[in-house]
Symmetry: none
Subunit: 234 residues, 2 copies
């Protein structure tokens, strides 16, 4: 929950009572949330002040309710909360106990059902996993604007100094000079094609300025290598 930025948890009739000494250990440090947990005897009381309740269930139900995927549910809830007319609207995601899940009477109290679409031939999602996926989808939607602008090859480069095109070009030209001396272009006609391919490879990697320096060092080392061997041979 807290991984996904959700901070309000309500428990209905916890099996082992509350507070539960195990909870601190299992919370991975989310003690702020534990301190604020609200306990209710019944589901009815727990959702009394909520306007929209989404029940998460694995099985198909005979109860007729709108059924959403976790993603659709997140979109709906988010769209709803962005509407300033709905500022006071309170939405709850409801999960059943680990083994039994929600009973039909619980589902009947809910506005809609969330069904997480998974492998129809194998489904063994436990409670913690279901909570993670539903909260995750909500977190993704909420940060949607940020996510969309992050969809770039260049996102990584905020903190590193990319090589300038000039630095790349100087490296490429030096490389071509050196490999031409090494008789790389046996057929002069293929040289433009080869140059283009090598340039494409280096440029595509979006090298940093430091990497270009390293690549210059590689050329120097490779040229020097034969000298050393020659010395041994002499």
């Amino acid at each position: 929950m807290v991984n996904c930025g959700m901070t309000h948890l309500r428990l209905v009739a916890p099996r082992d009572g509350w507070p539960d000494p195990q909870a601190d250990d299992l919370s991975a440090g989310a003690v702020d949330l534990l301190d604020r947990i609200e306990i209710f005897d019944t589901l009815e009381e727990a959702i009394a002040d909520c306007h929209y309740v989404l029940a998460t269930t694995a099985r198909r139900r005979e109860i007729t309710k709108p059924v959403f995927t976790a993603r659709q549910a997140a979109q709906n809830v988010c769209k709803d909360s962005q509407n300033t007319n709905n500022a006071d609207r309170r939405t709850a995601f409801l999960f059943g106990p680990e083994r039994t899940g929600l009973i039909n009477d619980d589902i009947a109290r809910c506005s809609a059902i969330i069904n997480i679409p998974l492998n129809p031939d194998f489904s063994s999602l436990n409670l913690a996993q279901a909570v993670l996926l539903v909260c995750y989808e909500y977190a993704q939607i909420r940060d949607d604007e940020k996510i969309m602008t992050n969809q770039s090859h260049f996102e990584r480069d905020n903190a590193v100094a990319l090589a300038s095109q000039k630095e790349i070009d100087e490296y490429i030209l030096r490389l071509f000079d050196e490999i031409e001396d090494g008789n790389f272009f046996r057929n002069p006609d293929v040289r433009p094609h080869m140059e283009r391919n090598l340039r494409s490879f280096v440029t595509r990697a979006l090298p940093t300025a430091q990497e270009i320096k390293t690549l210059h060092g590689v050329i120097t080392a490779l040229i020097g290598r034969k000298t050393k061997i020659k010395n041994y041979e002499d």
Copy 2:
């Protein structure tokens, strides 16, 4: 994994060996997958036949690679696999050990990084949760006809044969041998760091099989170059 329709699992040097009697109980019945698990001593061997490797990591890294959200990664991989020209392309999602995560040498072998966008103030995702979210995103997108047409790592690769990790690795190892002979690693302490940086650079560019051949030719040419000059000098 199997909840999300993923069925191929490779383990690298499992901490408690393999087979592991605990695995059956923990697998929630996914015994078909357990029977097919492949075990490797090293990451190098585990990804040798893979063409595109996505590393999942929580921390920001100094290594420069494209960074995708789990959703973007799923979109890229799915878009790629729908292209019939890429039928033989093999993609791997890579996860580190529970406590330590992936080390930088592992990341250096990967084509790109998956960073799951979560609460910046609280992140305690464990290994199982990270695997679930990455596989879940892939399961969602696989069934989605409306794959967004935004930037893909593979845009250029519609008809090209990417180099396998094995081909990349052979090239890197040869390059290191040759530049070591050229006295590139004047300070032996920096060698691991330099190796990682060079490996990271080459891998990030997603080289084609043909480009790796060309890069081998470049080494040969650079080594040969000095000979020619020596001949002139002699």
